[in-house]
Symmetry: C2
Subunit: 198 residues, 2 copies
């Protein structure tokens, strides 16, 4: 009788990614359902088979983006060895995630404000964001405690670092002077120098 979900000609994940691409390119309001649909060779109407509406698409994008990057960063933070080295690792991961894995992260950065009015959503988003920020805080805290890092205001420091990292997706160019890894290293150098004791 019933029938297993067919072999999803289009996987929901592909739609989320497509939405992220279009949101990033055109902004939430500037992105049309038709644009997103086109990205996966569907018509606008067909999207409604997979998602209840445009807002839910953005939600999914934000969720996914934050979850992804948080997952990656957590993996590093919770591995055994101590801190200064870790900071470099997570900056690399953050930038990589931002530029490659998920243009999603970039959409997150710029489009999250759109949903910040919807109350339930706001809470969820804020809590996810805090989780990520706390991972960074932990690394800095440990470094300060161990004497490896200067005693900065961790709250401001992390925001500062996030700002710098987020901004990368705005100015980064594939064909630019430096590679992604070189950029990540240079930025890490800056922040490690800033944390240098003495």
């Amino acid at each position: 009788m019933a029938r297993k979900p067919a072999e999803q000609t289009v996987h929901p994940d592909e739609i989320i990614r497509a939405a992220a691409v279009v949101f990033h390119r055109q902004g939430y309001h500037g992105a049309t359902m038709a644009d997103i649909a086109a990205e996966v060779k569907l018509t606008a109407g067909s999207l409604y088979h997979h998602f209840p509406g445009k807002e839910d698409l953005l939600l999914a994008v934000l969720d996914r983006g934050l979850a992804q990057i948080t997952h990656d960063v957590r993996a590093v933070v919770e591995s055994s060895d101590p801190s200064p080295a870790k900071l470099r690792q997570i900056v690399h991961i953050h930038i990589h995630s931002e530029l490659e894995d998920s243009i999603i992260a970039a959409a997150v950065i710029f489009e999250s404000r759109v949903l910040l009015n919807v109350p339930g959503v706001r809470d969820r988003y804020v809590s996810q964001r805090d989780t990520l920020e706390n991972l960074y805080r932990r690394v800095i805290d440990v470094g300060i405690a161990s004497g490896d890092f200067r005693a900065v205001d961790v709250g401001i420091f992390v925001k500062t670092l996030f700002g710098a990292l987020n901004w990368v997706s705005v100015w980064y160019r594939q064909d630019g002077r430096l590679t992604e890894a070189e950029i990540a290293d240079e930025i890490t150098d800056t922040f490690l120098a800033a944390l240098h004791t003495g």
Copy 2:
């Protein structure tokens, strides 16, 4: 016969500022002409007396925001004395301009992408942005040349600094833990430490 422009019950500047506020709050596409009009007690239609259209409003906001902050930063850069002290000054000015004088700057940051497709506009915007960036570069360059600063990659460093500064408008809260000046100082400390030689 003719008649001098009447005493502008509503000065164009007020409209630009209102537009900046609304763009910042709701994003370009999310801002309606009615929203902007309401901010200065007008009706949507009346705005067309002052500006040809919505896009021109954004243009004006960007122009004004960049011009303002560039003006302020230039004043410091072109004053006599040398560099390390200047960096602190311009960071203060930048943040102040961003938070108070012109929510405009914040709108600039987030909404500029919208216009980056319009060709003529793009060029103009990019050139204005470069002017501002170059002021920062100059300060860093001088510091490196004089041996006051470590020899960083100036291009990346300035982008990193901009990212951190721009991001402030996203997380800053009037009623937050620190004042605007304290935040500016903390951020300056971070970047000066990052430039510290040895």
